[in-house]
Every structure is written in structure tokens, then in C-alpha cells.
Amino acid sequence: MDNEKDLISKLKSKDESALGLLYDKYSAALYGIIIRICKDEGLAENLLQDTFMTIWKKSDAYDDRKGRFYTWAYRIAKNKALNAIRKDKKLIQTEDLSVYKSKTEEQNIDIDHLKLKGAIKRLETHHQKAIELVYFNGLTHREANEEMGVPLGTFKSYIKQALKQLQELYIKVVTFIMILIEVIR
């Protein structure tokens, strides 16, 4: 953590190597978010670059008392991706509705590649879906609860429960790894 604090203070003082290291650490996670929202590799690459440019320029706006660096960067990436697809949709819709349809059908991306992995796979299906919609698809709670056809309150509890289960899973994983380390020793 101290290492990360150093990195961020270097970033704030416009140290390019700090940006490079932060890119190494976070780019894949952020790219995972961006590409799942926009489902277009070329666009996602541009948006990832754009995200890091914003991180570079607006680094003064990040306050570690208000949350983790990753959370801050995630919000930037998500907003950029959402704005891009909204703009895209608007553009296509005003021109020709059929183009929009054909575009959504012909995503130039390997969908399997974007299937969720890890602890989320061990959640119940509706919990998985809830997390996927808000976290990886960038839907708001209101959009997502409509998508799933459940009341907003129910949807909120899905999110809470999902996070709680994830927490337990992660603790188990950590415990398992620690036991493993002890055994190896």
C-alpha cells in the first residue's frame, strides 16, 4: 500500500514512470470493464488510452481519503465507455435504425473471451447477473433492476448479498493460500 501511495504522489507530481507503473497494474482490469461495456476492441483501446490520459491530467482530483485509486479509475473508465456507446447509439439511431440493429449483431469481439471468471462464477445465477449488469455492463441500479424484472429494493439486496458472498469467498481463498504457503514451508 505504501508503494501505491508513493506511486500516486509521484503521479500527482507528473512523474511519467509512475503512470507507466500504474498502467502496468490497472490497465487490464480497466480494459476488462471498458470492453465489456462497449464490446468493440478498437473503441475500447481508444477509451483505455483516454482513461489514462484523464488519470494523468486530473490526478490532483484524486483524494485517497475518499476511496481506493482503483475505484476512482474504474469510475473514469466506466463513464468514458458509457458516454462513447451513448453517443454511438444516438448517432446511429438518428441515421438509420437498421444499422444499429446490424451493428449489435455483428460485434467484432470474441464473446467467450468476455465471459466472467473467478469468484463470481461461484455465486448464485441471479447474484452473478446483478453484479455483471451494474459492474461490468455499466448499468445503473434502476436500469439493471428493470432488466432483471425485479423491484429496486430486491435488486439492491441482490448486490449486497453478492458482495457479501464474494467477501467470504475471497477470505476463503486467502486462507487457503496462507495454509498452502504454510504447508510448502
Binding site: 488510452q49 463470481i120 458482495l163
Partner: protein, 259 residues
């Protein structure tokens, strides 16, 4: 500030992490996070879980993208530098140049105005000087005329009219003689013009001797001559230009006995 339980129950922490809260809700949650450390601990857990989720589902971007980003960064830095240098130097320079240009134009205009005024002032001064000279001349003329008039009007002044003889029958000279004041004035308006080589000269006869009274300047209508005591007659001759010491008697054109 929102109640702690309200924040927890309404799922505001999750919404905060996901960036779904509006500005005022965000500020309220942030205030609560500072006020309740346990809330901050809960937030940390949520953040950490979302982060792990993110890392588990990371997708590696194309490796060359990092270099492209760093190159873009340098390009944008150069642009920024250019931009700031434009801002910091050229714009103020432009403003300074504009002000200088305005000042220059203003100065030229004022200089031209000043020159025009100077010329006008000089003209007025010249005219004023000429007028003053004219006034001096006129007042001098007026004083002289007044003096002449009072002299002529003086009861002691005697008037003699000298008529031209056969040599110059059209000539006529009026002379005013005042023995009290000892002055002689003559009116020469009816004296014919002479050529440049000749002048009229006036003489007084005192005991048979002709005494010079002066050259008659015909351009002046009324002029003062030298008064000679005990003069018996007034005589006018035509003499070479500049006058003579003794009268050329053959050239006598008019004479009159006085007393």
C-alpha cells in the same frame, strides 16, 4: 448529513463505489465516511471486493498500447507547452503590439494636429503683427492729419495758391503758411508728375536770395516744407533728381508774393 443506517440500508456505499450517486448524495456520503470510521471500513471492504472482481476479470489490452499512451502523453505535453507558450508570450505580445500601434497612431495624429495648430498660430501671429503695424501707421497718419488739419484751420495760417506759368499752366499748388508756429504745408495734388530724373524744389526769396525749402514729394498730397523767416515770395522750380543748391531760374514754374 445522511444517517449511517440509511446509508447502509439503501446501499449508498455500493452506489458510491459504482459512481452512480449524484453530486449532493456523493458529498453527503463522503461527509458520513469521515464522521463514521466504521462506515469507511465497510466501504473499504466493498471497494476491495469490486477491485478483486475487476482483477479476476481483467482483459489484457494489446501490449503496444502502453507505448502509444506514453507517446500521446509526450505529444500532448508538447502541445500543452506550445499552448502555454502561446498563451504566456504571444498573446501579451500581441496586446502590447496593439497598444503600441494605437499609441503610435495616436502620437502621429497628435503630432499632425500640433503642427497644424502651430502653423495656424504662426499665421495668426503674423496677421496680428501686420495689423499692429497698420494700426501704428494709421494712428501715426491720423495724428499727422489731425495736426495738419488743426494747423490749416488755425486763424494765423495764411493760404496762398501758386498757379503754374506758361511752362506748366496746369500746375496748381496750395500752401499754408503760419508765421506764429513757423510752419509751411503744401497741397501738391494738382502738380503734374515728373519723370524719374527730375524733382520739384521749393524756394523762399529772402532779400533777393533764394533759400531752399525742400524737395516736393508729389506722392504725398500734403507735406510740410522748411519754414524760412522773412520770406517775400514762394517759388517752385524743376531741378535734376535729388534737388540743387541753387535754383535753375529758367525752370521756374510758379511763384507767389507773400505779405
Amino acid at each position: 448529513m445522511m444517517e449511517k443506517t440509511h446509508i447502509i440500508e439503501q446501499g449508498y456505499l455500493e452506489l458510491y463505489v459504482l459512481g452512480e450517486l449524484n453530486e449532493s448524495d456523493t458529498q453527503q456520503v463522503e461527509a458520513a465516511l469521515i464522521a463514521y470510521p466504521e462506515l469507511k471500513t465497510m466501504l473499504d471492504v466493498i471497494e476491495a471486493n469490486f477491485e478483486k472482481l475487476g482483477f479476476e476479470n481483467a482483459v489484457e489490452p494489446r501490449p503496444s498500447l502502453k507505448n502509444e499512451l506514453l507517446n500521446n502523453l509526450n505529444n500532448s505535453k508538447i502541445k500543452q507547452l506550445k499552448h502555454t507558450s502561446n498563451k504566456s508570450n504571444i498573446k501579451p505580445l500581441g496586446i502590447a503590439a496593439s497598444i503600441a500601434a494605437l499609441l503610435l497612431v495616436g502620437s502621429v495624429y497628435l503630432f499632425l494636429q500640433w503642427n497644424t495648430s502651430k502653423e495656424q498660430l504662426k499665421l495668426v501671429e503674423d496677421q496680428n503683427r501686420e495689423l499692429n503695424i497698420k494700426i501704428d501707421q494709421l494712428s501715426k497718419d491720423f495724428e499727422e492729419s489731425k495736426a495738419l488739419l488743426s494747423n490749416i484751420n488755425n486763424p494765423n495760417t495764411k493760404k496762398y495758391v501758386l498757379l503754374g506759368n506758361d511752362l506748366m499752366p496746369n500746375a496748381k499748388v496750395i500752401s499754408y503758411v503760419n508765421d506764429e508756429d513757423k510752419t509751411v504745408f503744401i497741397n501738391t495734388t494738382l502738380l503734374p508728375e515728373l519723370d524719374e530724373k527730375q524733382d520739384y524744389q521749393m524756394w523762399a526769396d529772402v532779400n533777393g536770395e533764394m533759400i531752399n525749402m525742400g524737395i516736393i514729394k508729389t506722392e504725398e498730397p500734403l507735406l510740410a516744407m522748411n519754414y524760412i523767416e522773412n520770406s517775400e515770395s514762394l517759388n517752385i522750380t524743376i531741378e535734376p533728381a535729388g534737388g540743387s543748391d541753387h535754383p535753375t531760374v529758367s525752370n521756374l514754374i510758379t511763384n507767389i508774393y507773400i505779405r
